[in-house]
């Protein structure tokens, strides 16, 4: 079975090498592809000097367009399984094998790594947790299913979902909307507990200033996805 880790990276010079090494050590049967989204720091140089597999986007597309490029790569290179794995070192590769097992054994379409089942590791800031609980509630209202960590970027999926996302993926703040749309399409999604780390370098793309836009945009998107 061919497995790919999609690593979105925007200005991650301080953590991209660490992320790739974590994958090579703790999930060696995964191939990986870094989507360098027109970073303005040394990310591209570091990737090239270390001979890492990288797709360099010529203009910045934002997280959604970047991750979608990864799914398109997975589709054209005929991967059976793809996982999203942040380039900022917040995800831990040691959980990937168990996620693959769950996906395959339970014949699921997607497995999400959730921080809020065992409540271990980095739990995000209080305000963001509140937002996450709200999205969780909204998705339950729209789909009838409970996703405890709807903003988790650590998600593993099969060919069906790779195909869907390669064709259609939200541009920004994509996680809650994209999980809602596949739930509505009748795909089987489950979560399993993972631990995440605090950011060690660089800055989060979700600034307080943008969070109002984030809440409104994602709420609307989830509601729309529910109506399709």
């Amino acid at each position: 079975m061919k497995k790919l880790a999609i690593i979105p990276a925007y200005n991650e010079q301080g953590s991209i090498l660490k992320t790739v090494n974590d994958l090579k050590q703790n999930a060696p049967d995964f191939d990986y592809i870094i989507i360098n989204d027109c970073s303005t720091d040394d990310t591209q140089r570091i990737c090239e000097e270390n001979n890492l597999h990288v797709v360099n986007l010529p203009v910045n597309l934002g997280i959604g367009g970047g991750v979608q490029t990864g799914y398109q790569y997975a589709k054209t290179h005929d991967y059976d399984i793809a996982v999203q794995f942040d380039g900022d070192g917040q995800h831990n590769a040691k959980f990937l094998d168990a996620m693959v097992q769950k996906l395959v054994n339970e014949e699921l379409d997607m497995v999400i790594g959730s921080r809020y089942i065992e409540k271990k590791g980095f739990q995000s800031s209080g305000l963001r947790r509140l937002g996450i609980r709200y999205f969780s509630w909204l998705i339950r209202r729209v789909t009838g299913q409970t996703i405890t960590d709807p903003t988790s970027g650590m998600r593993i999926c099969n060919r069906d979902v790779i195909d869907i996302y390669a064709n259609d993926y939200p541009r920004d703040y994509p996680e809650p909307e994209s999980v809602t749309s596949i739930l509505k399409a009748g795909k089987k999604v489950r979560e399993m507990p993972v631990e995440m780390n605090e950011r060690s370098a660089g800055v989060s793309s979700i600034s307080p200033r943008k969070s109002i836009y984030y809440m409104v945009k994602v709420s609307l998107a989830v509601l729309m996805a529910g109506k399709r």
Binding site: V55, N56, G65, Y73
Partner: protein, 116 residues
């Protein structure tokens, strides 16, 4: 409607019409996109030159002042054009995204092939 106001509005509309025409000639704007602006100019100009027409429609629709009807119409048409532009920008955005992705994946394939 007051004659002074009509002359004023008429001059502005005529100037706007000429401005759009020169913009087309200088290729600042594509005819496809300029056409709708020309239509707006002409429409408002016609209503300005023939006030009886405007008064008739205002009375029919219950506008107290014909000039309000003129402003409302101009506003409405502008909004329609702006919405059309927003839709166009969304589409362009999507097209640029797809081209960027295709280009990046192609470049990656080429690099992987030429790698030792």
């Amino acid at each position: 409607m007051d004659l002074r106001m009509r002359v004023f509005i008429g001059i502005i509309m005529a100037l706007a019409f000429l401005y759009v025409c020169t913009a087309i000639k200088r290729r600042v704007i594509d005819i496809r996109h300029a056409l709708v602006w020309l239509v707006v100019c002409i429409l408002l100009l016609i209503l300005d030159i023939f006030p009886a027409l405007l008064e008739g429609i205002s009375k029919l629709l219950g506008f107290a002042l014909p000039v309000n009807m003129l402003f409302f119409l101009g506003f409405l048409l502008a909004i329609v054009i702006i919405f059309g532009l927003s839709a166009k920008v969304s589409k362009l955005n999507e097209q640029v995204k797809q081209m960027t992705q295709d280009l990046a994946l192609l470049k990656n394939e080429l690099e992987e092939k030429t790698k030792p």
